[in-house]
């Protein structure tokens, strides 16, 4: 507990934060599961030769008679193919069937969709469009592959050729070329065809560019937060950093306008950080794992994995960071009256830390309540507000200068029973708001503000009134690959992107979509390099950031360090981050 006293630190948090060195490295998009293991499927389809001049009429007639299956649009397949562009397998039979090319009216080959309903109907439909054979031998031998059951003496002859077609769009241009040469001409559309299977490439590229320059710093910060959590004995060494890309953009813009290095302002885009505190949860009113091992040192429970000591995923770094954002909004006085009226079940602070702001770690408190003093304001050109500005601070902003005094009584011990009448007023379901009358605010902040006059305590978390909603359009940087629970938690929170260092992969994680080696060993045809696949780790790969099955999706990136930091080696034991 001593780590979280309110004594003035010898070195200001701001100095500590600004001294954190960015990691050298780059970010790599985490592929979606479908990109790593593209769905494969082939079916038989039929090809017929029609008069080139009637091509559009053929399409109309076919689509009217045999509506396309919307669940299998097959948009990647070309409808028509000229004779000389036919894939070898088809061309071979065409050449056998119609040897005298020059004698034919100009023709083109059309692909008839899979699962043909009735060959006779097709025959009748296409008959008017069959190219007129000028000097064709009367009854060419039907190729072996043809599925036409009828006798060959019909005239004019409609010959159906069979070919194999891929029913899913190609995963890359190379695959498209390969299929075009061997099966049937296909097109590769990098955007539209994969919109649910993988992020839009333009969006991915744009957001990766905005993340890349500062990712090394924010991942480094996440590790510092992780270290703090571990060293305090509160949790495992896992940290989360929530960044607002809009503030990042403002920082960049200002730096460009004013011609300075934006590096020292990078911390300003951090809206909240949180460390793991799984050992700080008291159960059944008894002591927590942390209480059992007092002192500022890593908790012995770190050294093994015993699920009884793990506290629960709602004490994981990501879940706590999400909760800090929510809490900031709940503390907004404009929201609270109505929230109390809505109360049916008291908000259960499953995380005892969260109900006591004074137990936030130094990093957590700094970013949630203090660091906002240098937020770049659209209207202001100087990033340090003048003293006059700080006098105009709203009650809400002033409130953030100290821990919410009325929040402290809400602990797990005092939580009320579920069966409360809806209009309970004796036990506020939320950390109670300070009175809106500024005069009733405690006169002096309990925490020192490091630099008087230079600090304007304010939150950079947009309130609901300002349009803030969950973690929409925010990025989260983590020290480790998050567990499945936290992965879905970040999707439910609508983050824009999630970034973690590759060295922080965990077998219990939910973001990686394949082994590191294999990600680069996927061959052009979508197959996995056999040698690389042997390196497959003993784990599931979910790629939860981007699953076509789910309603919400985020961009996922791994930060690949140029040099592995020996202070943060891969974890030796498996646990949930």
């Amino acid at each position: 507990m001593d780590a979280f006293t309110h004594d003035a630190p010898a070195v200001s948090m701001r100095d500590i934060v600004e001294a954190i060195q960015p990691l050298d490295g780059h970010v790599v998009p985490i592929k979606s599961i479908q990109e790593v293991n593209p769905p494969e499927g082939y079916d038989d389809a039929y090809v017929a030769e029609v008069d080139i001049k009637s091509a559009s009429r053929v399409i109309k007639a076919l689509d009217a008679a045999f509506p396309r299956d919307s669940s299998l649009p097959l948009n990647h397949l070309r409808r028509f193919c000229k004779r000389d562009k036919l894939p070898e397998s088809v061309k071979q039979f065409v050449d056998e069937a119609y040897p005298q090319k020059s004698s034919m009216a100009p023709s083109i080959f059309i692909l008839l969709g899979i699962s043909l309903p009735d060959l006779e109907a097709v025959r009748t439909l296409l008959e008017p469009f069959i190219p007129v054979p000028r000097a064709r031998s009367s009854s060419p031998q039907e190729p072996q592959e043809t599925s036409t059951p009828s006798s060959p003496e019909q005239s004019p002859e409609l010959t159906l050729f069979r070919t194999k077609i891929p029913i899913y769009p190609p995963a890359s241009a190379k695959v498209a070329d390969m299929w075009s040469a061997s099966l049937w001409p296909v097109t590769f559309n990098p955007a539209a065809s994969r919109s649910t299977v993988a992020p839009n490439p333009q969006t991915l590229n744009r957001d990766q560019k905005s993340i890349e320059p500062r990712a090394g710093y924010y991942v480094s910060l996440a590790r510092e937060v992780a270290l703090e959590a571990k060293q305090s004995g509160r949790g495992r060494g896992v940290g989360a950093v929530i960044v607002d890309p809009r503030i990042e953009a403002q920082i960049d813009e200002k730096a460009w306008e004013e011609g300075y290095n934006s590096r020292e302002r990078w911390p300003q885009a951090v809206v909240a950080v949180a460390g793991d505190c799984r050992f700080a949860r008291s159960e059944a009113g008894g002591p927590s794992q942390m209480d059992r091992h007092p002192g500022i040192a890593p908790n012995p429970a770190c050294e093994t994995y015993n699920s009884d000591h793990e506290g629960g995923p709602d004490l994981h770094a990501l879940m706590r960071a999400v909760e800090l954002v929510a809490r900031s909004r709940r503390e907004d006085p404009e929201n609270e009256v109505d929230l109390a009226a809505m109360a049916c079940q008291p908000i259960v602070h499953t995380d005892p830390q969260l109900s006591k702001p004074n137990q936030l770690s130094a990093f957590e408190r700094y970013f949630l309540y203090e660091a906002g003093s240098h937020v770049i304001d659209d209207d202001s050109t100087s990033y340090r507000p003048s003293p006059a500005t700080s006098c105009q601070v709203s009650p809400r902003k002033r409130k953030f200068a100290q821990p919410n005094p009325e929040a402290a009584p809400i602990t797990l011990d005092t939580l009320t029973e579920v069966e409360l009448p809806p209009s309970t007023t004796t036990t506020p379901p939320l950390p109670a708001p300070p009175a809106s009358d500024p005069a009733s605010l405690p006169p002096a902040p309990q925490e020192p503000i490091e630099e008087s006059g230079g600090r304007l305590p304010t939150s950079r978390i947009r309130s609901r009134a300002e349009g803030g909603y969950l973690c929409t359009s925010l990025d989260v940087y983590l020290s480790h690959e998050p567990c499945i629970c936290c992965c879905m938690g970040l999707l439910l929170s609508r983050f824009r992107a999630v970034i973690y260092p590759r060295a922080g992969r965990l077998k219990s994680g939910g973001l990686a979509s394949g082994p590191v080696e294999t990600q680069n060993a996927v061959l052009a045809n979508g197959d996995v390099d056999a040698d690389a696949s042997q390196l497959r780790e003993d784990r599931e790969y979910y790629g939860l950031h981007w699953r076509k099955e789910l309603n919400w999706r985020a961009l996922g990136f791994e930060f690949v360090e140029d040099v592995v930091d020996e202070n943060f080696p891969p974890e030796q034991i498996a646990f949930h981050a």
Partner: protein
């Protein structure tokens, strides 16, 4: 995904039915407060030791699902290790987040009202309860009071339509009454077609037996 296996058939008139009724009552509460109507109870030694309902709107935290609230309540009185002898009754299939959380918490078994094909973690989308993991798997039984669970959800979507209208009026009318905006489930809720409560079900009427998954 679901398959009938040789296991004891669990009927609605059993103790399991009683506990699911309590979970449904929590869902009703959620409905009454404008939350997605999902409710659950935790049962340890035949006693309800925790109950929860969705609380995402009020808490402004999208991860505040019923299961987390129920576990938090239970841990006020019981140690975490007791969850290993605890069963969960939940009206709607736990989402992937909650499925994973329940596994980390070591839940003994989970009884589900109806599937969730958008977020479900025990068969709806993924099978996180039984996939390879560092924690033991748990069994899941789906279908107890399925109709009631579905009806609750349908009631919610009808309510959503009406609520959308109210909020639109508030937005257009008086801006000072911002507090009512907190009722909005999302900044721009998609307009939904007004429709009456659907009371038909597309599954067989006698499909009341449990269908264990895995």
């Amino acid at each position: 995904m679901e398959q009938e296996v040789n296991s004891p058939v669990i009927r609605e008139d059993s103790r399991h039915g009683y506990f699911m009724k309590q979970a449904l009552a929590m869902g009703e509460k959620a409905l009454a407060t404008g939350e997605t109507p999902v409710g659950c109870v935790l049962v340890y030694n035949d006693k309800i030791v925790g109950s929860g309902m969705n609380d995402t709107n009020r808490s402004m935290n999208g991860t505040r699902h019923a299961e987390f609230l129920a576990i938090a309540e239970m841990l006020q009185t019981y140690p975490k290790s007791a969850i290993k002898e605890t069963d969960l009754y939940v009206t709607v299939e736990p989402c992937i987040m909650c499925t994973a959380a329940l596994r980390q918490y070591g839940i003994r078994s989970v009884f589900v009202g109806t599937h969730n094909e958008r977020f479900g973690g025990v068969g709806g989308v993924l099978t996180v309860h039984s996939d390879k993991s560092i924690d033991p798997p748990y069994p899941v039984y789906v279908g107890l009071y399925r109709k009631e669970a579905i009806t609750l959800l349908r009631q919610f979507y009808i309510q959503e339509n009406e609520k959308g209208k109210i909020i639109d009026e508030v937005k257009r009318g008086e801006e000072k009454n911002k507090t009512r905006l907190t009722l909005i489930p999302a900044p721009n809720p998609r307009p939904k077609k007004n429709r009456a409560l659907n009371t038909t079900f597309d599954f067989e009427d006698d499909d009341q037996d449990f269908m264990p998954i895995v």
